[in-house]
């Protein structure tokens, strides 16, 4: 697709950029910690854009002071799910916000086949469209 020339999944922050290195991730985490966010990790192998809630890896990390702790958890998660999408979320607990303030992908499968556009003709030759990830054709945990 012309809008996404690299064919990579683009969700959250920095997703049009090359993958962040650990050093860059640490910088982002540090920024979030200074703002008082609680970081957490999530993983999935279903990259559909409407798949909002991914699986949590461990619990959200409250009361951390340094990025090293978050990176330690990320290393564990990568070891457990080397071929899944892994993203980092920063939860802002400030009153009135209480939601995700940052989110970016930190791990991708080696190959990302992308999405297919399904067309369905319904009454009166109306077209109905659906997006389907090629990888979801196979069962869970065998997709990438």
């Amino acid at each position: 697709m012309m809008t996404n020339p690299t064919g990579r999944l683009t969700q959250g922050q920095f997703s049009f950029l090359p993958d962040l290195t650990d050093a860059e991730i640490a910088l982002q985490v540090e920024y979030g910690l200074n703002k008082g966010y609680a970081w957490s990790l999530e993983y999935t192998d279903d990259p559909h854009p409407r798949n909002t809630y991914w699986e949590m890896y461990g619990q959200p990390m409250f009361d951390l002071k340094d990025a090293a702790g978050v990176l330690m958890e990320l290393a564990d998660c990568r070891k457990a799910f080397p071929n899944h999408y892994i993203r980092m979320l920063a939860f802002d607990s400030a009153q009135g916000v209480e939601s995700i303030a940052m989110s970016f992908i930190v791990n991708r499968p080696k190959s990302e086949p992308g999405f297919a556009l399904d067309r369905q003709e319904i009454v009166g030759r109306t077209q109905r469209y659906a997006v389907r990830a090629y990888s979801t054709g196979r069962p869970e945990n065998e997709r990438y």
């Binding site: 020339p5 050093a23 340094d66």
Partner: protein, 356 residues
């Protein structure tokens, strides 16, 4: 498909490549103490070549002076902190000349009798190491067995890891560490916590300093049953018992902190009290002094309380009188026969009891 050509703003050229960079590099700019600690050698035109120049640009000396001022006695502990500070300064000079230096292992164990200041020093150690530039954040996470060891299978590892994550960038202080290991129960989960601790202590030496504290004899048993732990701790600091003079000085500082002072003869009374108390079992050094002073304050309060109609001056309210100390139970028994007796009594000081 090909990777895009754009790059995240502020990222270095090498960081944009696929080679994973060292996360430590990125961690330092956020740390407040890094300005003097990691002193970037590239942009400073003149690099310090003498110890004095490095000292001038850091707070090392201020830290050491403060330590001398605030803590009574503890000469071996102070000496070790001095050594660590000296190593930091020399490392910086070596770095300026292009000699790569590996950061030293700073895990410590504090052993000593009750009330010798193990916890107090640990609390300060986080601050000291932060100012010396060894730890990035300088906070202290104090835990005991309960915080590390879980209740059931599979509970311990996440619990321990969570504590470790919280302590990253600072100091993890494990009080009464020997409770982690219970040899009488071979299925005790403490062993699992110890293994995770060891792994992180080894692999993330730059991120975390672990301090174990406990009474000397039990820590010896602990280290004997966990040789891996013992060898990964570079600094075994033994806290000596305080002498009588040091205990008196501690007492005066404690009183001054609470806006009290000794009345006439009260200081001598306390000296005699200490001489008797040291010879008795369950003597807990500074902690016993604090308890004695607390009891003296109680007696002072009831003494003043009894005089209903007297107008109490500031002086009255601040003064611990000799009688307040002399009323102690310790004076009821027989006096220690000679002064040398108290010296030999030190060896028999119990490490158990009176620890709370």
């Amino acid at each position: 498909m090909s990777a895009p050509l754009y790059r995240i703003p502020g990222a270095t050229k090498s960081a944009a490549s696929t080679a994973p960079a060292d996360p430590r590099v990125a961690g330092t700019p956020g740390a407040s103490g890094s300005a003097d600690a990691g002193a970037p050698a590239q942009d400073a035109p003149h690099l310090p070549r003498t110890v004095a120049e490095v000292l001038a640009s850091s707070q090392v000396e201020a830290v050491l002076d403060e330590l001398d001022r605030d803590l009574v006695g503890l000469a071996p502990v102070k000496q070790r902190i001095r050594d660590i500070a000296a190593l930091l300064v020399i490392d910086k000079l070596r770095l300026n000349l292009g000699l790569a230096a590996q950061s030293p292992s700073l895990h410590m164990s504090f052993t000593g009798n009750p009330g010798t200041g193990k916890t107090t020093v640990a609390m300060r150690m986080a601050q000291i190491l932060h100012r010396l530039g060894y730890v990035r954040k300088g906070h202290l996470v104090a835990v005991t067995r309960d915080d590390l060891v879980g209740q059931y299978i599979g509970h311990t590892a996440p619990k321990t890891r969570e504590v470790l994550k919280k302590a990253m960038g600072g100091v993890l202080f494990i009080d009464e560490a020997y409770y982690l290991f219970r040899p009488e129960n071979e299925r005790d989960y403490g062993q699992e916590a110890i293994e995770i601790l060891l792994q992180v202590m080894e692999n993330q030496r730059d991120d975390l300093v672990v301090i174990l504290a406990g009474y000397a004899d039990r820590m010896d048993t602990f280290f004997r049953s966990n040789p891996g732990m013992s060898s990964r701790i570079a600094h075994h600091l033994d806290f000596p018992d305080y002498s009588e003079g040091e205990l008196l000085e501690i007492a005066e500082r404690m009183l001054a902190q609470q806006n009290y002072r000794f009345g006439e003869g009260a200081r001598d009374a306390l000296a005699q009290y200490l001489a008797r108390r040291i010879a008795q079992p369950h003597f807990a050094n500074a902690r016993s002094v604090r308890n004695a002073l607390d009891r003296a304050r109680l007696r002072q309060a009831s003494r003043l309380f009894a005089e209903r109609d007297r107008e109490l001056t500031l002086d009255d309210l601040c003064t611990i009188a000799e009688a307040d100390i002399r009323a102690s139970r310790v004076f009821a028994g027989p006096a220690p026969s000679t002064t040398t007796d108290t010296g030999s009594g030190e060896g028999s000081r119990s490490t158990a009891g009176d620890s709370r």
